[in-house]
């Protein structure tokens, strides 16, 4: 149970970064931390007591392995997170070229 609470703490750290920082890159880092905390939560859901890694070999039994399905799902989720980070970083670089600043309080042409 305490591991799930620590995932929540990590999520809140990322949320603080997304809400309170004014630099674009720091906001992106906050979003990344939130994504990784949720991936960690999903992997921890698959833990079985006294389990081993779910790698099949001629001398392993399946009964004392952890759940392998969350691990496959989280691999896909990490790839999706990578794609989003790549897009956000290139957007941030282009915004810096056009506006000359990375401060979000100064990039506010769209209003109303």
């Amino acid at each position: 149970m305490s591991t799930y609470l620590l995932c929540l703490v990590l999520f809140c750290v990322g949320l603080y970064g997304l809400l309170r920082k004014r630099n674009l890159v720091k906001m992106i880092v906050g979003l990344a931390i939130m994504g990784y905390s949720l991936n960690l939560f999903f992997v921890l859901l698959g833990y079985r007591l006294h389990g081993r890694a779910p790698i099949d070999a001629p001398d392993q039994v399946i009964e004392n392995m952890v759940d392998p399905l969350p691990q496959a799902v989280v691999l896909t989720s990490i790839v999706i997170g990578l794609g989003i980070m790549a897009l956000l970083i290139s957007l941030a670089i282009r915004i810096y070229e056009k506006h000359g600043t990375l401060d979000i309080t100064k990039i506010n042409k769209l209003k109303g």
Binding site: I55, P58, L75, V79, A86, I89, S90, I93, E97
Partner: protein, 141 residues
């Protein structure tokens, strides 16, 4: 970059490529698979850019060739899936499945791993190269 970094990275780049290919090929037996191996291959190319500058990496694998390889990888993956239609269902595993725990077993899964490794490796290299070129063009203005 200093002489120390350049000498060491000459060895590490080759080791990284071999290690990445090892992880891709053993994707159905050990942890890893297409995506993890692809990232390691891309990282060895990125190390080449960091140590020697982007022209060294561009001479090994130009941007046009990399983009074409990426698209070919995606198309190959789709074609491997479409081959399953001969067996009756989309993505059916139609190749011969050998005995378990051998390297040449499990039908189309190693082929999928290889194609994904190619696409992810080249794709991450292209992303990094695009960000470097954007940075350079901004500095020249």
């Amino acid at each position: 970059m200093t002489l120390l970094v350049k000498t060491a990275s000459r060895l590490v780049v080759v080791l990284g490529l071999i290690f990445g290919i090892h992880i891709i090929l053993h994707g159905h037996l050990a942890p890893g698979g297409g995506f993890a191996g692809g990232v390691i291959i891309a990282l060895s190319f990125v190390l080449l850019i960091l140590a020697f500058g982007k022209d060294a990496a561009l001479s090994k694998l130009s941007l046009k060739l990399a983009s074409n390889l990426e698209n070919v990888g995606a198309l190959l993956f789709l074609i491997i899936g479409l081959l399953g239609f001969w067996g009756g269902a989309f993505f059916l595993n139609i190749l011969v499945k050998g005995s378990p725990f051998r390297l040449f077993s499990a039908g189309t899964i190693p082929l999928n791993n290889i194609v994904i490794g190619l696409k992810v490796g080249v794709g991450l290299f292209v992303i990094f190269l695009t960000l470097v070129i954007l940075e350079k063009s901004k500095k020249e203005e």
